[in-house]
């Protein structure tokens, strides 16, 4: 089976207008096809007024390409890209709440936390909250480490990802604002086949 035919994690990056209802319009593109969204983050982008979605799904590239096209077809979507994990720099943030007594009593816990790059965010008499940022395996790893010591609460954020080969959206947006955008903006994947960045 070739690489392209395997299911794998894809990072979908969507530049959109900041419009009420758009989240739902994008989400139903996945739900209609019974595709689970593993992670979804919306945030501002490098451009004022332009929003950025980061969506992670585990799928075949063929499916991801079709989904990306359906997303880009939405009126308020400026551009949608998809990338494998190798093509992006990505991070997730996790918070862990553990009993302060346990930390205080067991020196090994503090060492483990340090080794895993965790940082105390809040220290109270009754509990302490640690934070780590990193890839899924790293944040997952700390869960299993803390579990024997009574992990009280755990939460992980959605993934945020920066596209390695992207030059940002500023120049593209200026093109979009023109009546007749240039070809480099209205590109399609056929013209970009040789490039590292998959784009619509």
């Amino acid at each position: 089976m070739s690489e392209a035919e395997k299911k794998q994690e894809f990072n979908i990056t969507i530049y959109t207008e900041n419009q009420i209802g758009l989240l739902s319009r994008i989400a139903i593109i996945f739900t209609r096809r019974k595709i689970n969204i593993d992670s979804l983050n919306t945030s501002p982008s490098e451009i004022d007024s332009i929003h950025r979605f980061n969506i992670v799904i585990n799928e075949y590239e063929e499916v991801v390409r079709k989904l990306t096209r359906q997303i880009e077809k939405q009126v308020e979507v400026l551009k949608a890209y998809y990338h494998t994990n190798e093509d992006v720099i990505w991070q997730e943030l996790a918070l862990y709440k553990v009993s302060t007594d346990v930390i205080a009593e067991k020196v090994s816990v503090e060492r483990l936390l340090r080794e895993n790059g965790a940082r105390a965010v809040v220290i109270r008499k009754d509990y302490t909250v640690f934070e780590t940022t990193g890839h899924r395996e790293e944040t997952d790893n700390l869960i299993s480490i803390l579990q024997p010591y009574g992990l009280i609460e755990f939460v992980r954020s959605a993934r945020v990802a920066i596209i390695k080969d992207s030059e940002g959206f500023n120049s593209k947006l200026r093109e979009f604002e023109r009546l007749e955008p240039g070809e480099e903006v209205i590109e399609n994947e056929y013209l970009n086949q040789g490039e590292k960045v998959f784009t619509m």
């Binding site: 209802g21 319009r25 359906q70 077809k73 400026l78 009546l179 209205i186």
Partner: protein
């Protein structure tokens, strides 16, 4: 001094008018060229209807009997006129009744602007009387939707709505307007149509290199085959398409929605594609070497089993919607763009050719189909009439000049197969969604959209009963629609499948009908029932010659099957003649 400067930079008083949101909406509709609105009033849209009272001379509002009828009428209007259909409905149930029509318009790319009333903004989310989350309900079935809660948004949003509905691949747009915004007074600075939205690209840029690659494939093809869909009609590219077909000499077959893009009797028009399409176009899809798909989307009813569909062929796909390219069938050359622009470029780049032997193959399959299916369907020897012979008689009288509106089921397939179309925008049917109940209201709209043409609705006994209340709309508006009910006393298509695939277990397909002629009479619509072949031609003539609407109920064979047929899950080349 400061005061004086302010008055200079502010818009001159004469340029703005203090109007309600409702008036601004109606002014916007007029500015967009709307002449007809299909609608139904209710509490949350009353301010708009109050304003409409004063616009009677500019906007012809047709009071329908159900909002579903309203939206199908809007679709029929859009399909024959090429303009954007406009529909009004109130909040809650009024709006939810639009959903079927929105889904139908979405899948068949029909441009609509639907205006729904909504409860006051301060009541949103309180489960107020007749409040429904219309935006979320309609999101999957609209090209775009938007809720207006402030009247000042109305001019700009309506401009966007029309632009989005009609540009690119057309589709339905729904604008939900809260009651306070309808009432609110604001300074209306005039209407400015929209021609650009930065996040929306209606047409991909045409790439000369793809035109060149496509032309090379076409020029070197021995057995090329054209499949065309509604994209040709929506793009207004009928002439450009005809020029392409004639210069290339390539046989061309149509999807249900593409019917009429070139005349039925054009020598290179080889017939209909798909499940109940013609024999040759289906079988030869799997023999051609280059498949040129124009403005069509390879629906499963067209392709049959995908992994056995045209695998031997190189595929050139012309489409305005990039999401359609490679969605179902992988293309060798994707010609993205509006076919009105791409077709002339392609025509210029190809060599003039004839494919005599290849075309003869289609004609040979046609002969086989005539022998096995068509002859008996059109010239039955049974005492009972067939649907096909009715269509044949109708063709002989209308000479292919009528607009044919069909519902969904056996009669639809028979009508599409056998009706003659000389003109574009003549075949109005629910293709993608398969909405029973579509035809009667759509025919009303079709007539409003093409008032100088004869509009004939062909409907089954089942589908007619889904929206037959629209006879009231016909009565009140005085519109001239010729209605043919092909009554086989069955839900025929489901019955056919039960016969072929469920061992004749006829589960709930035996449908009883009222006296349709008496029903029409109750609405003051003249009608007639025909159950004898000898009366058919005279009855059709009477229907067509009677001024105003007319309902003709024709009794046809109970258990007739539509053939040829590509059974579900089979390849197009496994098409059955019986």
């Amino acid at each position: 001094m400061e005061v004086a400067q302010d008055t200079l930079t502010a818009p001159a008083a004469a340029e703005t008018v203090n109007v309600s949101g409702s008036v601004a909406l109606l002014e916007a509709l007029i500015a967009e060229g709307t002449d007809t609105i299909f609608g139904y009033p209710g509490g949350a849209i009353m301010p708009i209807y109050d304003a409409l009272f004063d616009y009677n001379d500019k906007l012809n509002h047709i009071l329908v009997r159900h909002e579903q009828g309203g939206i199908h009428a809007g679709q029929g209007y859009a399909r024959t006129s090429g303009k954007v259909g406009v529909v009004f409905a109130t909040s809650g149930p009024g709006a939810t009744n639009l959903v079927t029509g929105l889904a139908d318009a979405q899948i068949d790319s029909t441009p609509l602007v639907c205006i729904t009333g909504q409860v006051f903004a301060h009541l949103l989310g309180t489960d107020a009387f007749q409040e429904t989350d219309v935006i979320n309900i309609t999101t999957p079935v609209t090209k775009w939707n938007y809720q207006i809660t402030d009247a000042t948004e109305i001019p700009e949003v309506i401009a966007k709505a029309f632009y989005i509905a009609r540009s690119g691949r057309p589709g339905p747009v729904l604008i939900d307007i809260t009651k306070n915004a309808q009432i609110q007074l604001f300074d209306f600075a005039g209407y400015k149509p929209c021609d650009h939205i930065r996040s929306y690209r209606p047409k991909p840029i045409v790439r000369p290199q793809y035109i060149q690659q496509a032309a090379e494939l076409i020029n070197s093809a021995q057995k090329p085959f054209i499949l065309f869909g509604q994209g040709v009609i929506l793009g207004g590219a009928e002439q450009e398409f005809k020029a392409f077909v004639e210069k290339s000499g390539i046989p061309a077959a149509w999807t249900v929605l593409g019917a009429g893009a070139i005349p039925s009797d054009h020598p290179l028009n080889v017939g209909m594609l798909g499940m109940h399409g013609n024999y040759g176009p289906n079988v030869l899809t799997n023999e051609c070497d280059v498949l040129i798909a124009i403005g069509m989307r390879f629906d499963d009813r067209v392709t049959g089993r995908l992994d056995k569909y045209a695998k031997q062929a190189k595929v050139v796909h012309l489409d305005i919607d990039p999401a359609e390219i490679d969605k179902n069938v992988k293309s060798t050359v994707p010609v993205w763009g509006d076919c009105k622009e791409t077709l002339p470029l392609l025509t210029k780049a190809i060599e003039k050719k004839e494919h005599i032997e290849w075309l003869a193959k289609f004609n040979d399959y046609t002969r086989q189909e005539v022998e096995a299916v068509i002859h008996n369907e059109l010239n039955p020897t049974t005492p009972e009439m067939t649907m096909g012979e009715v269509i044949k008689q109708l063709n002989e009288i209308t000479k292919g000049e009528a607009v044919i509106v069909t519902d969904v089921g056996q009669h639809q397939m028979v009508a599409c197969r056998y009706a003659k179309f000389n003109n574009t925008r003549s075949n109005v049917t629910s293709g993608g969604l398969g909405t029973m109940g579509f035809a009667l209201p759509a025919a009303i709209g079709a007539k409003f959209g093409a008032q100088d043409r004869t509009v004939v609705a062909i409907i089954g006994d089942g589908g007619f009963q889904m929206t037959c209340q629209e006879l009231g709309t016909i009565m009140q508006s005085g519109i001239d629609v010729k209605i043919i009910i092909l009554n086989n006393r069955f839900l025929g298509m489901v019955r056919q499948w039960q016969e072929l695939f469920n061992q004749r277990r006829y589960s709930f397909v035996d449908i009883q009908s009222p006296d349709f002629v008496a029903l029409a009479a109750a609405y003051r619509i003249p009608g007639k029932l025909v159950d004898d072949r000898a009366d058919l031609t005279a009855a059709l003539n009477e229907m067509l010659n009677t001024p105003g609407s007319f309902l003709l109920e024709i009794m046809v064979t109970k258990e007739n099957n539509v053939f040829p047929m590509v059974p579900q899950g089979c390849s197009v080349s496994e098409i059955r003649l019986k």
